[in-house]
């Protein structure tokens, strides 16, 4: 009897695994639902425990509080001058945009979520947010921490959504390296600085170049800062990430409904009546 039961249980476990291997999306949806059921129930206990743990971890930084405070003040003073410069630039930029009649994408807004849980193991890098399908979250949207890209949504439950961080081994983000305009893929490898893959011409890329998302392939928005180029001792190009992964607490999920594609030829423009005679290559795209 016990043998039989054991055999049945083993077969079920094996079946679950094979089902996952064959039809991964379905099982992953099921995983998202399970997570959605269980983890929010733990929230009431998780918040105070996390707070306490962080309090103890902060203990060492309390010791250098005064020094840090002074540094922050001087930093703030420098920032004031930068702010003035930025304001002037913003006005100038607005005037130029107005002259050019550029329409910025008005649909790029964001939803802020609180980090409920992390992946729970050192092998995976992901976090669970307390916003989900109920809040209109869609798989594939970008998540930022205010400075840089943190990851993309993968797995949405009713009340929760999982963010696969750019450092995770399964994360692949299409990116552009500025100013050279080279396209590449930022492929996570479970280290703090993901390597740059599929780069056409590495000679054009210098350390310190900015890496931004290219928005290739649908729902991922373009122009989100990922980080700066650096190299590891082996000479491989890596990205020094702009986002601060040390303590993720609040994340912004960027709403994005796909970028407009120019799929037809110039007739689209000509039919508008204005008939601008411009080469198609430099046709203005609304983003």
């Amino acid at each position: 009897m016990r043998r039989l039961l054991l055999a049945v249980i083993s077969l079920i476990l094996l079946g679950v695994f094979l089902l996952w291997r064959i039809d991964s999306p379905r099982v992953e949806r099921f995983r998202a639902q399970i997570t959605d059921r269980i983890v929010p129930n733990m929230e009431w206990a998780m918040a105070p425990v996390t707070g306490t743990v962080n309090l103890f971890r902060d203990f060492q930084s309390y010791q250098r509080l005064t020094v840090q405070n002074q540094e922050l003040r001087s930093e703030l003073r420098k920032m004031q001058t930068w702010k003035e410069a930025a304001l002037q630039l913003e006005q100038e930029n607005a005037r130029l945009l107005d002259l050019n009649k550029v329409r910025l994408d008005p649909r790029l807004t964001y939803i802020t979520g609180v980090v409920l849980a992390d992946s729970g193991s050192p092998f995976r890098q992901s976090v669970l947010l307390n916003v989900g399908a109920r809040d209109g979250i869609v798989d594939g949207w970008a998540t930022v921490d205010g400075i840089g890209l943190v990851g993309r949504i993968s797995g949405v439950g009713k009340n929760t959504a999982r963010v696969i961080l750019v450092t995770d081994t399964s994360s692949r983000i299409p990116a552009v390296i500025q100013p050279s305009g080279q396209r590449a893929i930022i492929a996570g490898d479970n280290s703090a600085a993901p390597p740059v893959d599929f780069l056409e011409n590495p000679d054009l890329v210098r350390p310190g170049d900015r890496v931004i998302s290219s928005g290739d392939g649908g729902v991922f928005p373009a122009g989100v800062l990922i980080g700066q180029i650096a190299a590891d001792p082996g000479g491989r190009l890596r990205v020094r990430l702009a986002a601060d992964f040390e303590r993720l607490e609040f994340l912004r999920v960027l709403r994005h409904h796909g970028s407009e594609q120019v799929s037809q030829d110039a007739s689209v423009i000509l039919e508008e009546g204005t008939a601008p005679i411009i080469p198609l290559a430099s046709a203005p795209v609304s983003e």
Partner: protein, 210 residues
């Protein structure tokens, strides 16, 4: 003290194992480890200070000095082993399978595989429990560690065969080592705090046989 073998005690301890699973999961899922393990991070060149001093200063200010150096042991499997050797009745196969499968789902592992392997290991330890009970702790520790190695290797082999990228070698080995090192602690806790002890030759089992 409650009768060691009463049904009430039996079911209380089964429930206790489920609670233990949830508590361990809870501490795994606390959102305090959101960065990769620091010792796997490559040293980046050139240093940020030489390209962008302002950014470097800002980062050092924002740095909270809590790099992740710690790979947590897999306590669930250690407890499952310890309980399986001591009191197989407290951890029936169905309970173990449920606990492991829940872990697989919530900890982002390929669901089912790890659970299956861990279950096989536990069942084997239960079978060998009678002999392990009579021998020293060293033998038990060795058996548990051996099973940890077997599970890890089998897991990797199956994943590789099915073209699923297996977990990183270094991390797997570190986790394995830490879990094996923590096994005596787990056994100590099991024995003293939870009162799950090896049955002595005088005890009768539930059905009244020897």
């Amino acid at each position: 003290m409650m009768d060691e073998l009463s049904p009430l005690r039996l079911w209380t301890m089964r429930a206790a194992f489920l609670v233990l699973t949830v508590v361990l999961l809870f501490f795994h899922l606390l959102p305090i480890e959101t960065q990769p393990v620091a010792f796997l991070a490559p040293e980046l060149t050139p240093p940020l200070v030489s390209i962008d001093p302002a950014e470097a200063r800002l980062r050092s200010l924002l740095d909270q000095g809590s790099d992740r150096f710690w790979v947590a042991p897999d306590l669930l499997i250690a407890f499952a082993f310890a309980w399986s050797v001591r009191k197989p009745d407290y951890v029936p196969a169905l309970l173990l399978a449920t606990a492991f499968l829940l872990n697989d789902f919530l900890l982002q592992r390929p669901p089912g595989l790890w659970a299956l392997l861990a279950l096989i290991a536990c069942e084997n330890l239960k079978l060998r429990g009678r002999t392990l009970r009579d021998s020293t702790f060293g033998a038990e520790w060795l058996a548990a560690s051996a099973w940890l190695v077997v599970i890890m290797l089998a897991n990797r082999i199956v994943l590789t065969l099915l073209m699923v990228p297996p977990p990183q070698w270094t991390l797997s080995l570190i986790e394995l080592g830490v879990t094996a090192l923590f096994y005596p602690v787990v056994v100590f806790v099991t024995h003293t705090l939870m009162g799950v002890r090896k049955s002595t030759p005088g005890d009768l089992d539930r059905l009244g046989g020897r």
